[in-house]
């Protein structure tokens, strides 16, 4: 056993038996080569975390900083020249409130409908004794790989009088097949079959079994699927762009695009007299940073609560097709 050395090792390895009470046996056992690999891996991971975190952090500090200092590159680690002018403007902007309200309505009603339709269907498809489930499942999964596309959709919504209504944000996306499959896999693998046998003996119907036994045991998957749908609705930009003309019905993402990308802040928000051009530009910049934070806030608030379920949720669904 002591003869076991890895390639490129210099120091002789100690076997586990020689250091019986050492909790960090793994590290003591390592050769120099492994030690170097460890350091490189640690550095790489640190670099990746930094690369992902820093842009997000920068938006946050820039939203609180003096824009003169931001645009000259002085703001790097912490906010400088603390200012809340951007946030004050955002809170006073009626477009943002309207967009926010619309998006909340679409997201809440939409997610509720999503859950009501997806969860029971996923349960039904998880029952192995339900023979037609194979063909029904194919009916769903086929739509993941073949779809009509935006023009046929547009014509259909027109015929159904969904264009320019709130329902175009809700009804067409009532079922996300990917989420349906994830939920089905969860019911199949994580709810013990014994429970169903027991429920049958107690005289519970499928409906009763689903409501009284399966749902209470499915908090994890309800949280994950709920979050997926919530994010899908919250971030939906395309529906508003393609199928809605009425500006009073536009969701937050469309308003955001108007503010962030089309440079309409000056005419829309900051039309106050007296401020110089430079000041106006700075205010517009700060509004951009602030609006990113404000629009992403609900997700940032939800995120820590649901995060622990992610691994489970994605793992279950994605491998099975």
């Amino acid at each position: 056993m002591s003869a076991a050395t890895s390639q490129g090792s210099v120091a002789p390895r100690l076997s586990g038996d020689e250091i019986p009470f050492n909790k960090h046996r793994r590290f003591k056992q390592q050769s120099v080569g492994d030690w170097i690999v460890d350091i490189i891996i640690a550095l790489l991971v640190a670099l990746i975390v930094l690369l992902i975190l820093y842009p997000l952090w920068f938006i946050i500090i820039a939203s609180f900083s003096d824009q003169g200092l931001v645009s000259t590159g002085k703001v790097t680690i912490v906010p400088l020249g603390f200012q809340l002018g951007g946030y004050a403007k955002i809170l006073a902007d009626s477009r943002i409130w309207l967009g926010y309200w619309n998006t909340i309505v679409y997201t809440v009603i939409g997610t509720a409908l999503n859950m009501l339709v997806t969860m029971p269907a996923a349960f039904a498809l998880s029952r192995r004794e339900f023979k037609p489930r194979r063909i029904i499942l194919f009916f769903f999964t086929f739509t993941m790989f073949f779809a009509g596309g935006i023009i046929p959709n547009y014509l259909l919504y027109k015929q159904l009088h969904l264009l320019n209504t709130m329902w175009v944000f809700i009804l067409p996306v009532a079922v996300n097949v990917f989420n349906l499959i994830i939920a089905r896999s969860f019911f199949e693998t994580s709810i013990p079959e014994d429970l169903h046998d027991a429920a049958q003996i107690d005289g519970l119907s499928y409906g009763g079994y689903f409501l009284k036994i399966v749902i209470p045991l499915s908090a994890a998957i309800i949280a994950v699927i709920g979050l997926y749908y919530f994010v899908q609705h919250w971030n939906d930009y395309m529906t508003g762009l393609i199928y809605v003309r009425d500006s009073s019905k536009q969701p937050l993402q469309i308003i955001l695009q108007n503010i962030l990308l089309a440079n309409q802040t000056q005419q829309g928000g900051a039309g106050t007299g007296g401020a110089s051009m430079a000041n106006q530009q700075q205010l517009a910049d700060q509004i951009k940073y602030g609006v990113i934070i404000v629009s992403t806030l609900p997700l940032l608030v939800l995120y820590p609560f649901l995060q622990k379920y992610f691994n489970k949720g994605v793992m279950i669904g994605a491998v099975k097709g």
Binding site: M1, A4, T5, S6, Q30, D34, V37, I41, I48, L51, I52, L53, P55, S71, T72, V117, P120, A121, F123, A124, F130, I136, F139, F140, T143, A147, G148, G149, I151, P152, N153, Y154, L155, L156, P172, V173, V177, L180, L195, D197, A198, Y206, G207, P216, V231, W234, N235, Y237, L256, Q257, L260, L261, S295, L299, Y303, P304, V314, M315, A318, V319
Partner: protein, 332 residues
């Protein structure tokens, strides 16, 4: 509550087990002898709850996924607004030919393939590397922290992502843009694809690594121990234990990705487009939108969309077929 139920029932089940199986066999025989309507009635009596549960989802998918598929026939007809989804004179492949012969065809197709291939390849490799790296972290706390951070950007909306790109790359003032004096990265034709895939990887690398991490967490630790006994170093453990473990997952994801060869996210390209980068940023989906919704050339746009879908479908089936032959992994 569940444990009580389980405790109460286990002996009952055990006792009932024998008679249960006998009954099932009888049912199967009886079932086959039954005429169809009777069998159907019996099925509905047993399973009508399940049908009620699955039907709403089927109706929604039927209306919002299958009716548009049926409406794809507009691609072969002169669209007539008075005749609804399926009306109009049959013109065969007229609109397909119009697209193939138009000067924009090559440009749009090349752009789409270039952007999507870069994104597919990089977006496929990056999560694997990240997962292998994260898997090497010993401390559970640090691992959890790294995962939390890397998953986060996945939930940010496309509008915000593109706004961030614009802010960071803005000439003279942006965090990155100010280092490129005199050139506007946002309008550069040479950098559009790079900006697209780099930000795409930035946003989704963490999230897409979850599936590999899940596969890696299922590795039997005794496998590592055995490999260490045989003198495997850290890198060899990755090469000979970790990578073979995630290989099936990799091939499934590769198949699924192949089904998206011509799918470039409409939203992001649309939002990143400007007059200067249009020659490299016009892709099929944005062109369909401009033709169909903005210029009202319904049949032409539908034909282009259908062409896109068919190519994707072809690649998906092809990749699935190859993978089935080579590694016995397939999605259908």
């Amino acid at each position: 509550m569940s444990s009580v139920v389980a405790n109460n029932v286990t002996p009952v089940r055990a006792a009932a087990g024998v008679s249960d199986t006998v009954e099932v066999i009888d049912n199967e025989k009886a079932l086959k002898a039954m005429p169809l309507p009777k069998r159907l009635a019996r099925h509905l009596k047993m399973y009508w709850h399940l049908w009620v549960m699955v039907l709403p989802a089927m109706i929604f998918v039927g209306i919002f996924a299958y009716i548009p598929m049926y409406a794809l026939q507009i691609a072969f007809r002169d669209f007539d607004p008075t005749k609804g989804l399926t009306g109009g004179r049959f013109v065969g492949l007229k609109y397909f030919n119009q697209f193939f012969k138009s000067p924009i065809f090559t440009q749009v197709l090349t752009n789409t393939v270039r952007i999507s291939l870069w994104t597919l390849v990089m977006g496929f490799i990056a999560p694997i590397i990240l997962a292998l790296l994260i898997n090497q972290i010993g401390s559970k706390k640090i691992k959890g922290f790294v995962q939390t951070i890397t998953y986060m950007p996945h939930f940010i909306s496309t509008v915000v992502i593109v706004a961030m790109i614009n802010i960071f790359l803005a000439p003279n003032t942006g965090l990155i843009g100010r280092f490129f004096e005199g050139s506007n990265l946002l309008e550069s034709t040479g950098l559009f694809t790079t900006i697209y895939w780099v930000t795409e990887v930035w946003q989704h690398v963490g999230w897409n690594s979850i599936i590999y991490l899940a596969a890696l967490s299922s590795v039997d630790t005794s496998l590592y121990e055995a490999a260490k006994m045989d003198g495997a170093g850290r890198l060899q453990l990755i090469r000979y234990v970790d990578i073979p473990t995630i290989l099936p997952t990799m091939s499934i994801l590769l198949i699924l990705n192949m089904g998206n060869v011509l799918n470039v996210g409409f939203e992001k390209v649309w939002l990143m487009q400007n007059a200067m980068n249009l020659p490299v940023s016009e892709v099929i989906s944005t062109y369909v939108f401009k033709m169909g919704i903005q210029s009202n050339q319904i049949s032409y746009a539908t034909a282009i969309g259908l062409f896109n879908t068919l190519i994707n479908f072809f690649f998906l089936v092809l990749a699935n077929f190859i993978s089935k032959r080579v590694s016995d992994t397939s999605i259908f």
